[in-house]
């Protein structure tokens, strides 16, 4: 049996917003009944991108995470809905019935991911349909996935082990978006933003970056080691939130330096100057 899902590779997302806009083009002011009534021209984001600036000048990254309906197996919206107004199809897609869901504003707050929107004109809650109306007429993927230029969004049948999504899922470390919500989300992620610690190492006695300084980072149950690059920079990516790490910088003939850092946020420690022993 067909079971649809989406795999989102955050590292591949360039935040071009093609997914966001393709969704608007498909749904704003355009009916796809019985799957969905028209989306209002403005204000809904059935496919959205969450921008998260990381680090500080001059070490900055922006994590951009596409977020849409997770099409949960334990969907709180289904549990909350009256008269079966939200249902999961056999192919896994969770649909809000536009007729039955009338006046059920509480469904907006039922979703822990905040991806259900209120349509005041129609008096209905609305969300991503995975473009079921297109899939049902032979389209291979939803509009957002089709418009994605990098393969950051992959859609397919996870019951078909030859499908691209199945193959990718088999070889990837899959994550849930906000796993603490515990809704058995069908949509899976790769590379959700964690925390980084980065810094630059220079010699104190001249204007030179230190290449090949040994930098270690340790925490409870964690240890990693890199060397600085030609710019004297080092970076540890993928660290845990709110964890205390110790960073140690060693270079032959120079005094070893270490810092204790808590990853409440991404941390660029700035330039560390090494002093001769």
């Amino acid at each position: 049996m067909t079971r649809y899902s989406m795999l989102i590779d955050v590292d591949k997302c360039s935040a071009c917003y093609n997914c966001f806009l393709a969704c608007k083009d498909e749904h704003c002011g355009r009916d796809s009944m019985p799957i969905a009534k028209p989306q209002p021209e403005n204000g809904h984001a059935w496919m959205n991108i969450i921008n998260q600036e990381r680090g500080r000048y001059p070490k900055v990254k922006v994590a951009t995470t596409p977020v849409s309906c997770m099409h949960c197996d334990d969907a709180p919206c289904i549990a909350k809905a009256k008269d079966g107004a939200v249902y999961q199809r056999d192919d896994g897609i969770v649909i809000i019935d536009p007729e039955k869901a009338k006046n059920q504003r509480e469904l907006v707050d039922a979703c822990p991911y905040g991806v259900i929107f209120w349509n005041a004109a129609e008096n209905i809650p609305q969300k991503c349909t995975m473009c079921a109306h297109l899939l049902d007429t032979g389209w291979k993927e939803p509009r957002c996935v089709e418009a994605c230029p990098t393969g950051a969004l992959v859609f397919g049948d996870i019951e078909d082990h030859t499908s691209e999504i199945s193959k990718l899922m088999a070889q990837s470390e899959l994550e849930d978006y906000q796993p603490e919500k515990g809704c058995k989300a069908a949509v899976k992620y790769i590379g959700l933003p964690k925390k980084f610690i980065a810094g630059t190492v220079c010699f104190a006695d001249n204007d030179e970056c230190v290449e090949n300084a040994a930098v270690e980072v340790t925490a409870k149950n964690y240890h990693n080691r890199v060397v600085t690059n030609g710019f004297g920079d080092f970076e540890f990516e993928g660290l845990a939130d709110n964890c205390e790490y110790e960073v140690t910088i060693r270079y032959n003939g120079y005094v070893t330096q270490s810092r204790k850092i808590t990853t409440e946020r991404d941390v660029y420690i700035g330039t560390v100057f090494l002093v001769k022993k």
Binding site: S14, C16, Y17, A22, K24, P58
Partner: protein, 843 residues
């Protein structure tokens, strides 16, 4: 339900269009099928890379449906309510007054009558007209086609375009490595394969590939960056803004103070010279005047060594970082990517940006221009492609309805008088106005030095202005002057032929509604500009030639540009001289016949299928000719480039400079402007005339940089507050007054010093004007930089019609200086702009 699916080409990629009952249902990317030509494959470092079997579009293209049916469409011919051609014209009311709807008959009579009156009274030169930089796509209706034929036929004062996107390369690079036939930008043949095979590092200098998109290439290069990341190619970004590509893949971001990039370049050369880490053999073979230039860098000629410490003081980049950059660059196979297509970069749009461009080429030259993996590549072009298949780009000779190949009779403009776009207001308000150069100087270096004065001796000043849509308020410099010019009584009549109520449309006396490319038939190729941008389609993973099917009837009473000009021609008494009796369809067929299309697909099949993918030879048969490899290897040029030097076997292995070499001391500048100390024969850093060493800095201590926009295409697709694009938080933010304010980015400490919080409405200001934006506090700019994209499509003056009014549309070019790049250079320099910012307390 009546449903049809057709094909359409846009400035941001090809699409399919689903139409239901005469209304557009959806617009979506072209996905290829098994009957289309096979994709290419590049084998590099143990991997095989092929593009997906689909085309990509720029994000803006996915809003086509919305902008076609936008409330801001001009639906009917309109006349300003207080414009009376037989009485008071009230030019000072332009921009303030409303409009009354008129019939096409009345509008055409009025426009034709005014053209005739003005030309009969003052001479043909009293009429002028200009189109915006980017028109809707399609060769028959394009600005160089229907507009040009009409105005050449009736005669008009042509307004030279300035190469506003790549000024520095146009006016500077041409004097060190030539490529004037590409307006200063380099060839890029087969450099994607070269990079994937051999490159270890790319230095993006003022380059944001994910935003610039090769100009017209949609998101085609996005997937290349995924591949390059997989191969571990290091990315360095040099840009005062940590741009949208940099935040994703920069190993190192370096943020020089705007306008000091040339100093940074000189310091890199200093490191290479003093450490001996440059390609001495290549320089010995290929450079002219290198020793003289080296003395300048080392301080032997002017007493100032261009050391990293010297540059650190100017640029704000640590000397240690400059040295590290120079050393990394020298020891790795490095591509220099200084802007889309090689030169479309903000640093080239600063005071003396021509010398930054020359220094960029100097640096590539020092590492061996054209060696495997080390080249000059904007990282947005250079896929394996089929360069033999003939189909014209919009500036190619046989691409337009005024070309002698396509028309029976080519129309030649009898008027010799010229104006210059960036200084149009000065020409109107303070003539005479003089300048050097023809704007786009693609025929020869000499064109850069032709002196012009407006009005030309014996000619009338301009009395009538025929504008074609668009918004120079958002793209030219110091643009409150445009309001002053528009309200001048010297302009007796202003016509605007436009699709939308663009900012300048609201300044016209008579408005003619034009339709979009979705409302007419046409023919074209994706990203094929031709001419000066020959083979630009190699920025696309597929060559796509398209029959552009009319999807819907024109909205309201709008008409195609060709139809409007045909009707005006009749009224003006030219009969069928304009159309030659041909319909739109007959012109399309004629163009098809002149191309190679008939060899591969019948006209009927082409129309039915809608597109053709030009096949690329299989990888084992494909013969790559990487850009500049011929030069590096002392061979005659073997790329498809149209270098004039290629025509003579004696010069075929040389560059197009006077010496055929890389001229570190420019012989062309020595000949044309020997005494110019601003664009001197030898490139050098000079303090910006509006920068941290200028007097104005005490009053306005922040640099405004305004690069090409990410969520607009010049002013296009940025029409109204309710646009989907206005919901993208990196573009605009809708505030309580319903206005979608443009995002201006500033460092949190800069904001804190001024009491500004995230999301506040702030004013960006200097003596030239006030623009209201929404504050985005970010670590992506240094403290001394404000970043706000140029090319706002909206101009919303708080006091309509006032040239001193604050604007809440986001036209930050109101703040930029119109001053010429340097004294003999007619380029503009909007990224040399000082401002301050403050919380907006007004209403």
């Amino acid at each position: 339900m009546g449903q049809k699916v057709t094909t359409m080409m846009t400035g941001g990629g090809p699409v399919r269009v689903c139409v239901e009952d005469g209304v557009i249902r959806r617009v979506y990317p072209l996905v290829l099928d098994d009957t289309d030509a096979k994709e290419w494959t590049i084998n590099a470092r143990g991997y095989s890379f092929s593009p997906p079997r689909k085309t990509t579009v720029s994000p803006v293209v996915l809003t086509e449906r919305q902008r076609i049916y936008s409330e801001s469409r001009v639906k009917y011919p309109m006349v300003r309510e207080d414009f009376d051609p037989n009485g008071a014209r009230n030019p000072e009311k332009r921009g303030k007054s409303g409009y009354r709807r008129v019939s096409w008959d009345e509008a055409l009579t009025l426009v034709a009558g005014e053209i005739k009156r003005v030309q009969d009274t003052y001479g043909k030169e009293a009429l002028t007209g200009i189109v915006s930089s980017h028109h809707t796509w399609g060769l028959i209706h394009y600005k160089m086609s229907s507009f040009k034929r009409f105005f050449n036929m009736i005669g008009y004062t042509q307004i030279f375009d300035n190469p506003d996107s790549w000024e520095g390369f146009h006016w500077g690079a041409t004097h060190i490595y030539s490529y004037f036939w590409r307006l200063g930008c380099p060839e890029a043949y087969d450099l994607l394969e070269d990079a994937l095979k051999h490159t270890e590092m790319i230095v993006h200098w003022s380059n944001d590939p994910d935003t610039i998109r090769g100009g017209y290439s949609g998101q085609e290069s996005s997937i290349w960056r995924v591949w390059m990341k997989k191969l571990g190619i290091k990315m360095v970004y040099i840009d005062p803004f940590c741009n949208f590509t940099a935040v994703k893949d920069a190993e190192k971001w370096i943020a020089p103070r705007p306008g000091t990039d040339a100093a940074l370049a000189e310091a890199i050369a200093y490191v290479w010279l003093t450490e001996g880490t440059y390609d001495k053999d290549f320089i010995a073979r290929k450079a002219h005047g290198f020793e003289t230039w080296a003395k300048h860098i080392l301080g032997e000629s002017d007493g100032t060594a261009k050391t990293p410490q010297w540059a650190a003081e100017l640029t704000g980049v640590e000397a240690s970082t400059i040295k590290a950059l120079a050393r990394e660059w020298a020891r790795k196979n490095t591509m220099l990517a200084c802007g889309g297509r090689g030169g479309f970069a903000g640093a080239g749009r600063t005071a003396f940006g021509h010398d930054w461009a020359r220094l960029m080429i100097s640096l590539v030259a020092m590492q061996g221009l054209g060696k495997p993996g080390g080249n000059f590549w904007g990282a947005q072009m250079g896929v394996p492609s089929n360069f033999d298949f003939k189909f014209p780009g919009y500036s190619d000779p046989y691409s337009n309805i005024n070309s002698p190949q396509l028309a029976d009779h080519e129309m030649i403009n009898p008027v010799k008088q010229k104006m210059y776009r960036n200084w149009f207001p000065d020409c109107i308000l303070n003539p005479p106005f003089s300048w050097l150069g023809e704007g786009f100087c693609g025929k020869s270096l000499e064109q850069q030095f032709i002196p012009y004065t407006y009005p030309m001796e014996g000619c009338s000043e301009v009395k009538m202005f025929y504008r074609y849509g668009g918004s120079f308020m958002g793209t030219m410099a110091e643009t409150n002057d445009w309001i002053r010019a528009y309200q001048s009584s010297k302009l007796e009549c202003i016509v605007n032929q436009s699709i939308w109520w663009d900012p300048e449309t609201k300044m016209a006396d008579i408005v003619l509604p034009a339709c979009t490319n979705f409302e007419r038939n046409d023919i074209s190729e994706w990203c094929n500009a031709g001419g000066y941008a020959k083979d630009g389609f190699c920025g696309n993973n597929y060559r796509v030639i398209m029959y552009q099917h009319k999807c819907i009837e024109p909205v309201g009473e709008s008409k195609s540009d060709y139809d409007i000009f045909s009707l005006l021609s009749e009224r003006l008494g030219y009969g069928e001289a304009y159309t030659e009796g041909r319909t739109e369809e007959e012109w399309i067929k004629r163009l098809y016949d002149l191309s190679d299309m008939p060899n591969v697909m019948s006209y009927e099949e082409f129309k039915a299928r809608g597109y053709y993918i030009v096949p690329v030879p299989a990888s084992e048969e494909y013969k790559a000719t990487p850009a500049f490899r011929w030069y590096y290897e002392d061979r005659p040029c073997d790329t498809p480039d149209a270098s004039p030097a290629k025509k003579d076997p004696a010069t075929a292995d040389k560059l197009g400079t006077f010496t055929g070499k890389l001229e570190f001391v420019s012989e062309s500048l020595k000949q044309f402007t020997p005494d110019d100390d601003e664009r001197a024969p030898m490139a050098k850093y000079i303090h910006s005339w509006e920068g941290h060493k200028s007097e104005l800095y005490a009053k306005y201590p922040l640099h405004l940089i305004s690069p090409h926009p990410r969520f607009g295409y010049h002013t296009q697709y940025d029409h109204s507050d309710s646009d989907w694009l206005s919901e993208i938080p990196e573009h605009r933010v809708v505030k309580d007054d319903g206005n979608a304010y443009l995002v201006a980015r500033l460092h949190p400490e800069t904001a804190k010093d001024r009491g500004i919080n995230e999301g506040d409405i702030i004013k960006l200001f200097n003596d030239r004007g006030v623009v209201l934006c929404v504050a985005r506090l970010t670590e992506r700019t240094p403290k001394f930089v404000i970043h706000a994209y140029c090319s706002s499509g909206r101009y919303v003056p708080l006091e309509p019609g006032s040239p001193t009014s604050p604007d809440k549309g986001g036209c930050v070019n109101i703040l930029t200086s119109k001053r010429a790049m340097s004294k003999n250079v007619a380029g503009f320099a909007p990224n040399s702009c000082l401002i301050d910012v403050a919380k907006w307390e007004g209403k």
